[in-house]
Every structure is written in structure tokens, then in C-alpha cells.
Amino acid sequence: MSSAENTAAAAAGEPGLAQRLGERRGAALALALGALVFIIGMIVPLFGARWVNDVIAVIAAGFAVHGALSLYDVQQRAPQWYLLSLVVVTGFLAIAYHSGLSPTDAGGLAFSLGDALSSGAGSWTQMTINGLAMGLLIFIMASGMTLTFGLMGVLNLGHSAFITIGAYVLMTFLVSDWGRGLSGAESVVANVGLLALVVLVALVIAGVVGLLFERLIVKPVYDNHLKQILVTVGGGIIITQLIIAISGPNEVQLNQPATLSGSFIVGPVVVETFRLVAVAVGAAIFWGMLRVINRTKVGILIRAGVQSTEMVEAMGYRIKMLFIAVFMAGSALAAVGGVFWGLYDTLIHPEIGGLRLFQIIIVIIIGGLGSITGCFFGALLLGLLSNYVGFVAPEVAEFSSIALMVAVLMWRPQGLIPVIRM
């Protein structure tokens, strides 16, 4: 490209060759520097305190991975894959480094590559499975909320109450005599059949409550976000209090169905069966949602409605019916999320949904309000990062999700996959 072409490209807002070369050099430098610091940290742990070496290793590894990804413009072409790769690969390097460090007899620290690869790789695999399970469960709970916001412009802070409904439907079944019998039976058919029934009942109850919630609480405050926040929080409190009135305020410990509980060992990795179930269910729901959203006329209508409700109406579609259907589906999905989160957490209490609301909001903000795929990636990022950080530095695990949100918003204020509203 000539300098004239560079100037023309710059005028058109595209990076010219010189700029691209500059970016490539910067990326290569980041990769080289990060790798160098990381390798030095492996050969000679520079500091006495383990956590200081860990922090330096994480920063160096992150820098190197960022450099490697930047060489291929991944962050521009596919920001969600860039961030996921950054978290997963940096997570691996950080966990491996952390596992390879051990105190010496002389009171210092030494790094063992063998420990890093055997113990570190096993821990990373386990944390990745845990992170995927947690992320996909959060995705199930969050997807309805992001869809409701994207299509209807409604910020439903009462969404968490529907998660609680799902968890309490689960509890009601599992503490009953016949439910306990089916759950405790060493039979996949009995266990999965029971779970399918729980999901079905949760879907119906949450769908009906969602319908009433939309008609009685949300409908009067369309187009007024401040009132939406107030009335949906109020509506959520009412539902939670009704649940307490029916089921009591106490925590209830549950047992997972017999064939879905326990764990098995693959090499150095201990895998909990239910986490794999959660990954499979979350992935199946995401796949199903993508099929509906991308391949059906209802899905096209929802995607169109997220962009312009007015134009959908002007084409002859009754958008209010779509609003109601999406609100019911979103509420039902939250309840399904509540069922599986209840099985994951095994401790059912009235705040089980409320405690997840914070993570759900972070996930839909990271993903881009209204975006199902963005919500999926946001949830995976949050789940994986929480688990990786929880392994290396448990004391800052909670903070990691806030840091992730702040970082994403500084980089892309509209989220990873923004949905444009006309």
C-alpha cells in the first residue's frame, strides 16, 4: 500500500498499513515481554511472598496471551472469543504457575515444571469444568432477563424471584416422600424422569406467575425505567414473601438425585457428575435458544423487535402478544435456572434468586443488553474467571466479576455483542 493509499485508508477510518504494522510490532513486543517475564518467574521466583510471584505471573501471562491474540486481530474481529481465549489461556498459565511454586527448606520458593504440568493441568481442567457449569447455569437464569430488556426495554429486577420459584418447586418435590424415593433410587430413568417433571412444573408455574407479573406490574410502567425498577423490585419482594409464607423462611439442604451426584476420576481430575449435567443442560438450552432465535419466524420477530418494536407493529404483528410471550418464556427460563442452581448449590433458601441477581446483571451488561449470544459469553467468562481466581487467590474471587465488568465496559461500553436499537 502506498502512502497515498494509507492516507485514503486513514480518511476512510480504516487502519493503514503503517498503523497495522505498528500494531503488529506492539503485539509481538507484548508477547515477547510477557513470555520473558513469565519464564524468568519460572526459573527464579523473584519474590519471597508467593502471592507477589503469582500476581506478576498472571500479569505477564495475560500480557503475552494478549500479544499473541493481537497478532491476529482477534479482539477486533471477535471480541467475545478474544476475551474467552484470554481468560482460559491466562487461567491455565496462572494455575500452572501457582501449582508449580512450593516453599523450599531454605525458606524461599522454588518452581517445579513437573508439578506445574501435572497438578496445574489437573486443577485447571477441574476449574474449567466448574466454571463452565457455573457459567452455563447463570446463562440460563440471565437469558430471559436480557431478552426482556432487549425486546421490551423492561429492566425487571424482580427476575430473581422466578429463580427462587424454580428452586422451591425443586425443593417441594425432593422433600416429598415419593420425590425422595425417586431421587434416591439408583436409576437414571427415575432420577431424570423426576427432574423432567420438576422442570415442567417449574416452567408452568413460573410462566403463569410471569404472565400475571407482566399484566399487573410491568404493563402499567412500560417506557418508564425508574418506575420499572421500583415496581419490579417490589413485585419480586412480594413473590419472595409469598414463597416464605408457603414454604417457611428456613434453609433446606437437598440431596442431588443418586445417579447425578457423586464424582469420578479421570487421570488427575476429579469430575463431579452434576457439573457435567449442568454443562450439558446449559449447552442444550443455549443451542435450543439459538435455533429458535435464528431459524423460526418467532425468533426473527424477536430479533426484529429488539431493533424496532414500532416497525414490527407496522408490519402487522401484535407486538404486545410477543412481549407477553417473551416475558413468560424469560420467567420460565429463570425458574429452570433456579431448579438447576438449587441442585448445584443443594441449599435452598428464600434469597437463592436474589443472591444471583448481581451476577446476572453483570453478565447481561458484559454481553450487551438484549444479546443472547453476548449473555452466553458473558456468563462463561464470569464462571471461568471466578473459578480460576478462586483457585489462585480465593480472597479476591468475588471481586473478579466486578473487575471483569469494569474492564469490558472500559473497552466496549455497549458490551461484547451489542444489539442496535433503531
Partner: protein
Amino acid sequence: MAEPLLRLEGVHTHIGHYHILHGVDLTVPEGELTMLLGRNGAGKTTTLRTIMNLWKASQGRITFGGNDITQTPTYELAKSGMAYVPEDMGVFHLLSVRENMELAARSGPIDPDRLEWVVGLFPALKKFWTKEAGTLSGGQKQMLSIARALIEPRKLMLVDEPTKGLAPAIINELVGAFQQLKETHTTVLLVEQNFNFAQALGDSVAVMDDGVVVHTGAMADLAADEALQTRLLGLSLDSHQ
């Protein structure tokens, strides 16, 4: 003049505290292309949006095929045979051209013969059939917007400034497409500021100023009377000629 398909009688529209339409009287004859002209801010777009009930008429009466539609919901109007092409084109940017068209075919799958006719009017759409509509140029988006309105037979098309911001070559393509559409005797109410475009297509004309219709008649009569053009349309006309 043919029987009116659409009639507005003393229609007033308020948007918030602003009183935009001050008693619009307008008739759109069946099977004709009626031009709605006027300066910026005269109330043309508001008139179309009020017909579609996207903004509520605060007073007056609108009839379509003899039925009072003043309070009829927008989706019912669309189902009854009205198509609306808004000023901003209303294209769904994140949907493909195909999905935009499928959505417009409200009553079922797209009729292949009808699609062939529409694509014949706007051949560029075939080339971009699977592309996201947001990647199209302004002219291509306008073609898609009009094609969506045409994908099913309509009784009335409301089209808002289709030439806005388009290159002359694209405008000529649109003139050709609307001329072919006229041969099907579809009733069209078309808001326009480009007088050459209006002159080439209009059968009848209504001119608006300050929220009321100040002139109605045959397009040919207005085209032949320069003094009337200057009085009704003023400088905005000259700038488009």
C-alpha cells in the same frame, strides 16, 4: 377522479405539548399515486404516522375503504392491507435481507412469483439476499424497505421520502420501480420533497403547510403552474430542481 380509498377529515395530532396537525383534510383516490408535498416541518411525516396510528389523532376522523380507522391499532391497519415505508426506512439491520422479506410476508411463506416480480424491480436485493441488512448502502436499504412493502399485495402504500439522501442514479431506479408499481394500480400516498421525482410519478397532489393541507389537485396542473409552485413550495422547491 377515482373514489377515495383513504380520507382524512379535520385530523389534529399532538406530540407531547406540541400541536402538529391542525385539521388535515385529505383524500387519496383508489388506484392512483398521490404526492404529499410541503416544506420541512409542514406535517407530512406526522400525517403518515397518524394514518398508521403510530401517533394518535387527537381529533378528527380517518376512513379507509369506508371504515373508520382512527382508533384502529397499527397492526390491524397493516393486516387490513396498508404498508408503511418510514422516512428512516425501518430496515432491521441485524436481520438478513431474506429475513427482512420473510417478516414482511406476514400471511405465510413468500410467494415465489411475487418475489420474482419484486426482485425484478430491485435486482440488487438478490445479490445481497443472505447479507445482513445493516451492511447495505443507503440506496439498497431504501430498495429493501420498499420491496418489503411490495412482497404481498397491498391496498395502500404509505411511503415517506424515499429519495432522501440518495444519489441521482438510485433515484432514477426508484422512479422506474414506482412506474412499474403504478401499472398494477396499487394506491400510493407518497411524501416527497424532490419535485422532479414527484412530477414524474404523481397522479394527484396535496400540499401541506403548517399542519394543514393548503392545496389539492392534479399533479400535472401543479407541474404546469410555476407561480403556484413558488407560492406553495417556495425555496424548498427550487433547491430540489
